[in-house]
Symmetry: C5
Subunit: 81 residues, 5 copies
């Protein structure tokens, strides 16, 4: 899993039906920016745990959900370095 | 998911039958160029959300579709930096 | 599989139910920091073998476990270079 | 999918039975060299479309085929930059 | 698939039962060091073909085997550059 920081929500009105209405968050993994499905309810600035690969699908709710990166936890304390 | 910009369509007449006649788009992820299956109907210049890993298959329509990168949404507003 | 060094446990109280109460470890793969599910019981400083991709799910216990990196072995002797 | 250039065939006589007798091609993705299963019949110098991840298995013919990179199309026109 | 060079066997006595007693090899992919399950019987110095992603599981013997990198062939002739 990756340790990422939540930057802001992402709005994509024109999306495939499979993405449903889940919240998407722009996250920073070091300096690279990615988008993750939010499965825990986080807010900008949170340090979160993101799971990728095929596990991101189940983590987002069910096996057919088309996610390759899902936020699965909020880290209690994290000091960036 | 990755945030990419659509560059142009890709033409590959000689392809495996499994790829069907779906539209393929050349997308830019920062400076690296990749090809994604277009599941939303986008045009060059659009900022899009691309899903990879095994989720790209379902996102392209069905589990047996041979995609490893599928465009699943068009981002409403995006400012490149 | 990757050869990583265990740094410290990671605490994420607010997590999806699927992660259960498994121990999570911050591991170093060279200079990059990641989080792995601990399936062997390791301690900080150990050199470990981490499996990623979809194999991380089975390695963590069962096919539905949402892991993309699981510690599957402790290396007997390892000299960093 | 990746845009690669075919360099030359790869010969590996001692291989697992699962690889069968499919043709393997050394391909260049920018400056990095990889090996892909040839599902279209290409020749050195061709610009091809390669699919990775779990989709490479189906693209190579069937779900149990052990490929993580399969050539699925020949690009009609490509100008390297 | 990746073209790697076999460096040496890896010993990890404390491992999850799922890894069984298969041989593990430290392999070099350019300058990065990884560990692969040996499905062909290779020796240090051999140039080998390694498959990753979910295909590494089937290549290691069966679908539940927790590998993300498996040696599937020995390359007949390879000149490093």
């Amino acid at each position: 899993m990756k340790i990422c920081r939540v930057e802001k929500p992402l709005v994509a009105t024109n999306r495939i039906p499979g993405l449903e209405h889940r919240h998407l968050q722009v996250v920073l993994d070091g300096k690279s920016r990615m988008v993750a499905v939010d499965a825990v309810g986080c807010t900008p600035g949170d340090w979160v745990l993101c799971v990728g690969s095929s596990a991101a699908r189940e983590a987002a709710g069910h096996k057919d959900y088309p996610s390759d990166l899902t936020i699965v936890g909020i880290i209690d304390h994290w000091a960036e370095d």
